[in-house]
Symmetry: C2
Subunit: 300 residues, 2 copies
Amino acid sequence: MSIVVVGSVALDSVETPSGKVENALGGSATYFSVSASFFTNDIGLVAVVGKDFPKENIDFLKSRGIDLEGLEIAEGKTFHWSGRYGMSLSGAETLSTKLNVFEKFSPKVPEKYKATKYLFLANINPELQMDVLKQIKNAKLVVCDTMNLWISQRREQLLETIKHVDILIINDEEARQLTGEKKVDMSARKILDYGPKRVIIKKGEHGVMTLSDSTYFSAPAYPLKSVFDPTGAGDTFAGGFMGYLASTDEVSETNIRKAMIYGTVMASFNVEDFSLNRQRRLTKDEIESRFAEMRSITEF
Amino acid sequence: MSIVVVGSVALDSVETPSGKVENALGGSATYFSVSASFFTNDIGLVAVVGKDFPKENIDFLKSRGIDLEGLEIAEGKTFHWSGRYGMSLSGAETLSTKLNVFEKFSPKVPEKYKATKYLFLANINPELQMDVLKQIKNAKLVVCDTMNLWISQRREQLLETIKHVDILIINDEEARQLTGEKKVDMSARKILDYGPKRVIIKKGEHGVMTLSDSTYFSAPAYPLKSVFDPTGAGDTFAGGFMGYLASTDEVSETNIRKAMIYGTVMASFNVEDFSLNRQRRLTKDEIESRFAEMRSITEF
């Protein structure tokens, strides 16, 4: 395996000002792996779904070249999230979260995944993230995500986990919550003190920034005229980011910057339709074209 | 004259978490013209001060090569602003505003200023901005600033004024207030409908963006480790922006982008000390060095 992701595979019911969708394919590991699959085909997914998980979703993931040996199919129902976005499309209101089979999720990493070079710990309980780190010990690059719930309810465990990762990717609100710093730059600097070699902060309409001890990089969001459904944008960013890095297999500053632009581009497509619908008709040419546009809107 | 600015020259009393200063040189036209003076020496200033305005301030402006024929010295006291910034340094709490001689300010543009190519209408009552536009009719580039007060209390007059300007420079909160749009990009697009050929939106820690009918550009803020006093940052940005444009005398997309980076750099120096103290010891080499850094933190 080139990339392994551990996270959720879910069915989402989402309502936005543009419309609604019921039981659509979702989950952090899904958005991540489908996004990464546009760059590399050697992706292993560790997650759990219930017996109700539609076969067409399995077929879609397989069609993207994603290995599903790590996808456990358990007795019970698939994790279901229901949310609604208001006119500003900034932050969903969660209507219901039914963990179902995800409640007892204990990641079991298949043998053939254990030598992976690139590991993405999507947003799950930091104790489970640590479990995975004990199973995959020699990854070249470990990237970790988290969310407000774990920052408030599993703070100690989260701080322990991020000591062991190379890159923490979080959004600006989470960075503020984690560090108590109001400014994005200050929060990023403080996170470096917690252990990771690099932090990437997603700032929504304000783009992304990254900081290490000796480097700083900032890029705007892709200027979309309108957003349809923001669900999964963060994981899609991470998938494009790691997919590009894995495809080049070189974790240099130059490649990290390009990877962040590919992540930005992938996220910009994701929000143009519900679920992963935009990805189903996305082409490599469209990706390259937006990458070039990102250059043209930042060059001086 | 190459550049003419119409705005305020003031004495400010400012308190920040780093310290305080009393009756320090301030005002939009001051910050603008001193910043522009690092790029061109042919700057005319239209403003009013009182008899109490210290001669050392006059000497300082003259030492920067700024022409003061347009600076009226009226009976009474100079405009005085007093404000305090909290720990976040985002937005001042105004403690007092004494308009004094500024209350009856009626801009009188000296004859020799009337053929200026570059005109900056700093943040004053939009009716006065229109008065100036009637006196300076053939500028190559007219740039305008405003503030929340005029957006709420002189909305019609402001909309009339910005019909006649080439570029509106405002901050993100003002753009939201003016248009009712929550997202920066959307507010910028809406402002174009009001008449200006271009809008530049200052987003504080998130940098600046600009939009015209056919172009889009975004740049981050210069990554300062700490901010001392934000007063005057916006006018200092505008001064660097127009100073660079006037020095090249070419209003192309390429030059506008470079001008925005010079504006960003000038603003980053301004906030490192109270009043214009940092500008008093600023060198052209320091400016060029930060310009190069801006390239290095955005290149991919």
